[in-house]
Every structure is written in C-alpha cells, then in structure tokens.
C-alpha cells in the first residue's frame, strides 16, 4: 500500500483570537505572584471549590468507573471523529438546523458575523462560551458594529471591567466581591450608587442590568458542552439560568462548538452529566441543563445554526500522545487543584485556556513554538491527572510537548542550545561510570555551598541554599567499605 502524505493539519492562525500571550509564562507569572490580593483571592476560591468538589465526589461509589467510562467514550469519539461529525450534521439538518464548518477562527468569526448581519440585529446576547473566547468573536462582532453582551455573571464582570477571563468556569475568579462592586459602580449604567458587596446585592444588580437585554435581543450566541451525534441534540450546562434565557427567548440562536465536543449517543450524555458538575462546581447535579434539537416550530428560536470549529483541533488529533487533550470537558478541576495556577492565576498563561489543561491544549492548537513556555509551567506534581474526570494524563502530555519543543528547536537552528549541549554532555558522562565518578568528585571539590551560583542556576540560589558537598560520594564510601 502506498501512502500520500498530505502534510500536517493547520494550527490556529495568529493575529486572531485569544490563544497566545504577549510574554512567556515565567515573565507573566513573576508579576502575578507579586499581587497579594490576587494570591489571596485565588487561594480562597480554589480552596473552596476543591473542598466542595472532593466532598461530593466522595459520595459516589463508582467514581472510578465513571471516569473510565468518560475516557473510553472520548477515546472512541476521537477515533471516528469525521464520521460522528457528519452524523451530527445530518441529524441537526434533519431537525431544521443549519450546520456550518469553520476551518479556523477567521472563518468562524466571519460566518457568525454574516449570520447576525443577515438578521439585521446590531446586538447579540451571549451564553458563556470558551470557543467564542478562543476565537475572539466579541472583538470580531464589535469590529462589525455589533454589540455582544455577556450574560454569564462572571463573564459580565470581566466584560464590564474590560478585563480578561482567568478561569474556564469562573472567569472572574481573580476578583473578590469588593472589586466586583467597584466594577459595577464604575461601568454598569443606572446602577444604585448605594450598592453593597453582598453577593445577593451584586447578583440583583446584574439581574436588573440583564433583564432588558434578555427581553429585547433577537439573536443569541452560545457554545455547547456536548452534541449528540445520533440525535443532533446540543447541550449547555450552566448554574444561573441566564444561559437558558438566551437559548429560549431570541429568534435566532447561533452555536459555536469545537469539533471535539461531539459524543456518539444520548446514553453517553448520562456519563458526562454525572461527571461534570461534581468535578467542576462541586454540585451533585447541574442546576440548568438546556438541550435543543434543531428547531421546534412555534417554540424557541426558529433560526438555529451550528458552527463546527476546527481552529487547530485536527492538528491536536494528529498527535497520538497529545490528542487526549481533546477529551477535556472544560470542568476546571485541574485548575482548581494546580499549585501553579493557584499562585499565578490564569492570565499568566496568556491563552483563554489556563492551568494544566491550557498548558497542554494551547501549545497544540497554536503549534508548540508559539506557546513554548507553557509545557514547562508545571512541576509535574500530578494533581491534575488525579482530578481530571476523564483521566487525561496531563503530566505525560506536558513531558511529550517539552520533547516536541526541543525537537523543533533542534530542527530550526544550526547550532544546538546551551541546554541541549549540557543535556547531551550529561547523558554521555552518565553513560560512562568512570567519567561520571570523576565529575562527581570535581563537583564536590569545586563547589562552594551557600548562596550564589551563575545563571541559570541563580534561579535556585535566589531563594534556596545549595547543599554542602559531602566529604565522599556514596560510591566512594561503598568501595572503601567493600575493601575493608
């Protein structure tokens, strides 16, 4: 059999969307770490969600089996993704919906903008959606003179504050209630100047602000948590009911969905609806689960569109080790348990996908070299792997992407990096026990314990002492002992 290599699938294009940061992770992290308020907000918020989630997961006797089922369904889905997407397209179309295929962010933004323009609307309301944040849809709509209004409370806080989301589930996790009150007082038209920072008062202010939008906006844009191929049903899970308002009230509903969100059957949905709420918000059952199948005459939106988004996902699928990142159901459990995320927050990752899953997903979507610092933004502690409800082995993918980065650097440059030379030399030395023993002795003689080492090791000595060299190595002791 002969094979024709057609080249690797395209990655997400630069210059559009929010998958790339302006600076490498260590630089952005350094600034975030100095923000005492941010550190406090994140410590409190992640600690609260961790405890809540652990408690309700502990109630489920078959959690391990559920996780294994989730992983199996996703692995099966990825193995026959093209077939399932075509099945989904046929089912949605048969139910009166219209399916659009978008290769990348540019195409998806153009499709949505054209659909909104065709309705004559100059405002859309939005259900919280990672896919539309990923492609920068709000920016594209604004450029076309269309006003996007975020209706998820946390997403609204971010939008009003001209901020960026820093968490997949709780985009304003980096803000505490005092800061949210300040944003509302500054940015929310007609807000009560006596607004307090009580959560109920803040929610009531947002409700008043959004009500008018819900009642008067004719077009909504959503993402989708799941799409059932066999029935053509789309599903959105949320906690506020604001999403359901957007999904039911307008005339036109446009859903932008990453291609990996498809699942084969209706029964499969049952597995994920058990896994997702306990892993993400720490709830036993999700409060608002909205499902729709095409158009229902006389009930709900009469124009229903589904935009299937690739934007680098086929490139992720092409990587045998890395493709499991596409199994993600966006629960955020890995963010909440990550010791790095808890200290730096989400903005340091640059991409809308922060934390451990972002560190494996963003570099694969954009190409590793455009997010080269992210695979290294982890101590490989493994807490994310344990927390993931679909058992994505994030540490192994991180290590795999580090190797991809090293390989791409090697291919791009004639001369190897200092690190590559050091690593090759170390491997050579360690493969020759006599050289290795000599190097050990030299290290013992040459090094002064304590404070200052040259770069890059100065990163260590900035905050930690270096251990004193022992008078003899273990192998010296052993050979002495064996002789005597």
């Amino acid at each position: 059999m002969t094979e024709t290599f057609l080249g690797l699938p395209a990655t997400a294009p630069a210059g559009v969307g929010n998958l790339r940061g302006d600076e490498p992770f260590p630089v952005a992290a350094r600034r975030a770490l100095a923000d005492a308020q941010l550190r406090r907000n994140l410590r409190h918020a992640t600690g609260t969600i961790r405890a809540k989630s652990a408690a309700v997961i502990g109630e489920v006797p078959d959690w391990a089996e559920l996780r294994a089922a989730g992983r199996a369904i996703k692995s099966d889905t990825m193995a026959r993704l093209p077939e399932l997407l075509e099945q989904l397209e046929a089912a949605v179309t048969a139910a009166g919906g219209t399916v659009h295929w978008a290769t990348d962010a540019v195409e998806a933004n153009r499709i949505v903008t054209d659909l909104v323009r065709a309705t004559g609307a100059d405002r859309v309301m939005k259900v919280k959606s990672m896919a539309t944040q990923e492609i920068g849809l709000n920016e594209a709509l604004e450029a076309a003179g269309i006003e996007p209004v975020e209706t998820d409370l946390a997403e609204l806080i971010v939008q009003l504050g001209r901020d960026r989301p820093s968490h997949i589930l709780v985009p304003a996790i980096h803000r505490n209630r005092a800061e949210i009150r300040e944003v509302f007082l500054r940015e929310m038209p007609g807000v009560d100047p006596a607004l307090t920072d009580e959560p109920a008062a803040l929610a009531a202010a947002a409700r008043r602000h959004l009500r008018e939008t819900f009642l008067s906006t004719k077009v909504a844009v959503s993402g989708a948590n799941f799409a059932v191929a066999e029935t053509g049903t789309l599903a959105v899970v949320e906690s506020e009911g604001n999403g359901r308002m957007c999904l039911t009230l307008p005339d036109t509903l446009i859903t932008v969905m990453g291609v990996e969100k498809v699942i084969p059957t209706w029964d499969d949905l049952g597995v994920f609806l058990q896994l997702l709420p306990r892993a993400s918000t720490g709830e036993r059952m999700n409060p608002y689960t909205s499902m729709w199948t095409g158009v229902t005459p006389g009930d709900g939106p009469q124009q229903v569109h589904l935009v299937l988004l690739d934007n680098g996902r086929s490139a992720v699928l092409a990587d045998e080790v890395g493709r499991q990142a596409l199994h993600c159901i966006r629960c955020s459990a890995c963010l909440n348990v990550c010791p790095v995320y808890e200290r730096t927050g989400g903005h340091a990752y640059g991409s809308v996908y922060p934390g451990p899953i972002g560190a494996v997903l963003s570099p694969q979507l954009t190409g590793v070299e455009e997010n080269a610092s992210l695979p290294y933004a982890s101590s490989l502690c493994g807490a994310c792997f344990d927390a993931c409800p679909v058992m994505i082995d994030i540490p192994s993918v991180l290590v795999h992407l580090r190797a991809r980065h090293v390989a791409e650097q090697r291919a791009a440059h004639r001369t190897p990096s200092a690190e590559a030379i050091a690593m090759a030399a170390a491997a050579y030395t360690m493969d020759h026990p006599r050289l290795y023993a000599a190097a050990q002795r030299a290290a013992g003689l040459g090094r002064v314990a304590g404070r200052a080492l040259p770069p890059p090791l100065s990163g260590w000595t900035a905050s930690r002492d270096v251990p004193a060299a022992p008078p003899q190595t273990f192998r010296q002791w052993w050979s002495q002992r064996s002789r005597s």
Partner: protein
Amino acid sequence: MRIALFVTCLADTLFPEAAKATVRLLERLGHQVVFPAEQTCCGQMHVNTGYPDDALRLVRRHVRTFAPYDVVVAPSGSCVGSVRHQHAMVARRAGDEPLASRAEEVARHTYELSELLVDVLGVTDVGAYFPHRVTYHPTCHSLRMLRVGDRPLRLLREVRGLDLVELPQAEQCCGFGGTFAVKNADTSTAMLADKMRHVLATQADVCTAGDASCLMHIGGGLSRLRAGVRTVHLAEILASTEAGPAGDRTGRNVEGVAR
C-alpha cells in the same frame, strides 16, 4: 533477601547519608545489599526537560545494570516513578520494543523504600529510635505516581521516641519539579514559601520525606531562612537506633552543618 541498591544520582553525589542509611537499615533487618557499580542515573531529568533521545542511553544502561536482580530498591519515589512510568515509554519512542519489555520487567522488581519494607519485607516496626518532633511531606511522585499511601507514616509511627505531627496541606507540591525550580524559579519559590509556612506551623524539628530532591528544595529554603528545622530522609530516621543515629558521625544534613 539479596537486594540491589539503586542509589540514584542525587543521593550518590549529594546525599550519600540517605543511601548509607538504606544499606544499614536493610542489613540490620538481615538482608544482603549489593551495589551494582555500573549504575549512574535513571534519566528522569532528561525526559522531563524534553530530551528523551538523550535519556535513551541511560535507560539502556539502567535496564542492563539491574536486569540480573530480583529485587531493586531506591530511596526515592521520584526515581522509581521514572523507572516505572517513563523507561518503557522512552524505549518505545525510539522504536526499541525489546528494551521496553525488559524495562517493564526491571520496573516490576523495583521498589521505593517504604514499598519494599511494608509490601515485600512485611515489616513496619524496623526497630528504629529517633527522639524528635517530625513532620512528613508526602512527595508528589510517591503520593500520586507510586501511590505509596500511608506506608511511610506506618513506618514512622513505629519509631520509638518519634513525635509525629501532621503537615497541613501535605499533598501540595513543594515546588521543586526538577528543572521547573530553575525555569520557573519565581513560581517554584512561591510554592516553597507555602510549604515552609506549613512545615513551620507544625513546630517540628525535622521535616522528612522519601525523596532527597524535594528535601533538598525544602531544606534549601529552610536553611536560607535559618529556620532551625532540619530535613532528614526517611531512610535516615528508620536507620537510627538507640545505639546511635544513622550515618557515620561525619554525616551532614542539608544545611551543611556537621551533626
């Protein structure tokens, strides 16, 4: 039982007391310890930094060195984790399936110290004596990669004179992570600061763990603070007896001060 010591490059070079303590402990329990001299490093640093191709020769060496032994022990959860979860992967990546199979065979016989003691040798009371207030940090790879669970704590609870105090948020990473501590030094330091805060809150004199690497990190931070808390490898505590502490009296702790 004849047990081969996989010393790990870090213990060999910088923390020989942990390795010597492992030898003395196992000999005291009536076992024969051998040290295959051809061993050097398991290659974990190479793999985790993105250099699996360079690690291949080290995996090959490790497998060749330890294949003849029925039982291999290392005083490190991290290095045993590398043997169990990375060696076969490195071999397969290079297309060397025979090496991968042999690596899996070696991994099946390789144990972290607390696993060897509790699971293979069936002992929790090793006859140790260590009259100090001690807190235990379960290192990430011991906890989540090897799942050693409470084995180290069961061993510590049987140590006479030892006052074991629980470490708050023990399961959180200390921030070492190999080259992470250098490439992301600021984040690593922030994680270390919280770990040290919890260690100090226990008012322990000694922080112990099953990994010299994490102890080097925590100990390096405590030393910089002149906090007056020592880091001591689990093996050294278990090797200590009424007759005398572990080590050969010239041993040093990580703060570089002769005991």
